[in-house]
């Protein structure tokens, strides 16, 4: 009887690798070859299951959806990634902030990282407004979707707050005065702002409890004016605080869309 010719080298190597314990511990099943297995491969995978197994045809009607919601999320991911890279070089103190931004453009390799972060930020604000406009024009806020609309409005405010807190970080003239003007609004808060209505009500006799050194603006800035404290606080809010809250709200926002049958499905 003639012996079979040996398998090609690549095939033999591949078969060998896929029989090892390391391989089998990571990839428990082979390539799916039935529709059931294909669906299971997506559903039971930690990364893939965040996306639905199948989507309706209505989900890709770009003239209807504009894809602005997806674009906004994509830009959020771009911002997270470029922001993380910027954090390796930027120090949020009055002594270093401005020069670190200059160095990011002039000394660090690929000097456009700061600009990429800034452009993606502008683009995200634009895309979030377009998304809101699209949802309004297609009536996708009507019951049963009104809760998701409200979550979206909060996300819009968070996007604008991210822009606001990030604006201070280069610590240049534009930044300091813009944030001075913006944060001055906080001292007019009712009850909690020292120049707002009702702040006198919280006085103990002659002693004012709500004054320039103890009102809501003071807590926001960590001081009486925009200085070292404000820079650090805005940095923490920009990099950790607001993204965390936005992430949780985005999870709710996407989940609600999924729950209601996928994007731009009929009611």
């Amino acid at each position: 009887m003639a012996t079979k010719p040996p398998e090609p080298f690549l095939t033999r190597t591949w078969d060998y690798i896929t029989e090892t314990q390391i391989w089998k511990s990571i990839f428990r099943h082979g390539m799916p070859n039935t529709n059931r297995n294909r669906a299971l491969a997506v559903m039971t995978n930690v990364f893939l299951h965040l996306h639905p197994v199948k989507i309706r045809k209505s989900g890709v009607r770009l003239k209807f959806t504009w894809c602005m919601g997806g674009l906004t999320f994509f830009l959020f991911l771009v911002e997270t990634f470029t922001g993380l890279l910027l954090m390796f070089y930027y120090r949020p103190t009055v002594a270093y902030a401005y020069m670190d931004i200059v160095d990011l453009a002039e000394q660090v390799p690929l000097g456009v990282m700061r600009e990429l972060h800034r452009w993606a930020g502008h683009a995200m604000v634009i895309s979030v407004w377009l998304h809101m406009f699209r949802v309004f024009m297609t009536g996708s806020y009507k019951p049963p979707r009104e809760f998701n609309w409200n979550v979206g409005v909060i996300l819009l405010v968070l996007t604008l707050l991210l822009s606001f807190t990030g604006y201070l970080l280069p610590w240049d003239q534009l930044a300091v005065w813009a944030i001075t003007v913006g944060s001055n609004m906080a001292r007019a808060t009712p009850l909690l702002g020292h120049e707002g209505p009702g702040s006198q009500l919280l006085a103990l006799g002659d002693v004012k409890m709500v004054h320039a050194g103890s009102d809501a603006r003071f807590a926001l800035l960590g001081g009486r004016f925009v200085g070292e404290g404000a820079l650090l606080r805005f940095y923490v809010l920009h990099c950790v605080g607001i993204p965390l809250v936005a992430g949780i709200l985005m999870a709710i926002h996407f989940w609600r869309v999924r729950k209601d049958g996928g994007i731009s499905g009929p009611v």
Binding site: W177, T180, V181, N184, A212, S214, G222, G229
Partner: protein
């Protein structure tokens, strides 16, 4: 009847029954948990209000009255403390260098005899009264007095606003 039930709830030999223990421990537990959560929330909120500020002090000594010329706006303290000292023939006053429009730092222009804000062009007379640009009200004055050693003491923590009639108050100016 109620006595029998209460007696039945207690096991023989004293001690507390399981029902008695649960009736006691659950409210106590929830109250303790709520108190702990509430105090953590208050502590977190208090945490955000710093006790120590790395800012220039609110009040400072500005030298002796004789160091200032009559009729002049003195800018020597503007960068460090944000205050102009103005000496008129009959009185001193200290103007806080914050524009009443949106909070920028105006500049004193001696050649034009006015304070001018670089942000949006608000203009103020030497007295601090607004006369041009978007500023809605005059510049504010700080409390000014003579310290024990004879030096001028400026206290920015107390402000006087003309539109409230507070420039009549004795601590808003210094007669020498």
């Amino acid at each position: 009847m109620a006595d029998e039930k209460a007696a039945a709830a207690k096991p023989e030999g004293g001690g507390v029954s399981r029902r008695g223990f649960m009736r006691w421990s659950l409210p106590v537990g929830w109250v303790a948990f709520s108190a702990a959560s509430a105090s953590s929330l208050v502590a977190t909120a208090r945490f955000l209000f710093p006790n120590v500020l790395f800012e220039p002090p609110q009040s400072f000594k500005a030298g002796f009255p004789s160091e200032y010329n009559v009729g002049e706006v003195d800018v020597r303290w503007k960068d460090a403390f944000g205050v102009w000292i103005v000496r008129e023939p009959d009185q001193f006053y200290a103007i806080i260098a914050v524009c009443t429009h949106l909070g920028c730092s105006p500049n004193w222009l001696p050649a034009e005899n006015k304070f001018k804000c670089p942000c949006h062009g608000s203009g103020f007379y030497k007295s601090g009264v607004n006369f041009e640009g978007p500023a809605p009200r005059p510049l504010e004055r700080a409390r000014i007095l003579v310290a024990d050693d004879g030096q001028i003491l400026v206290d920015k923590s107390v402000k006087f606003q003309k539109e409230k009639g507070e420039w009549e108050k004795p601590e808003s100016f210094l007669k020498v």
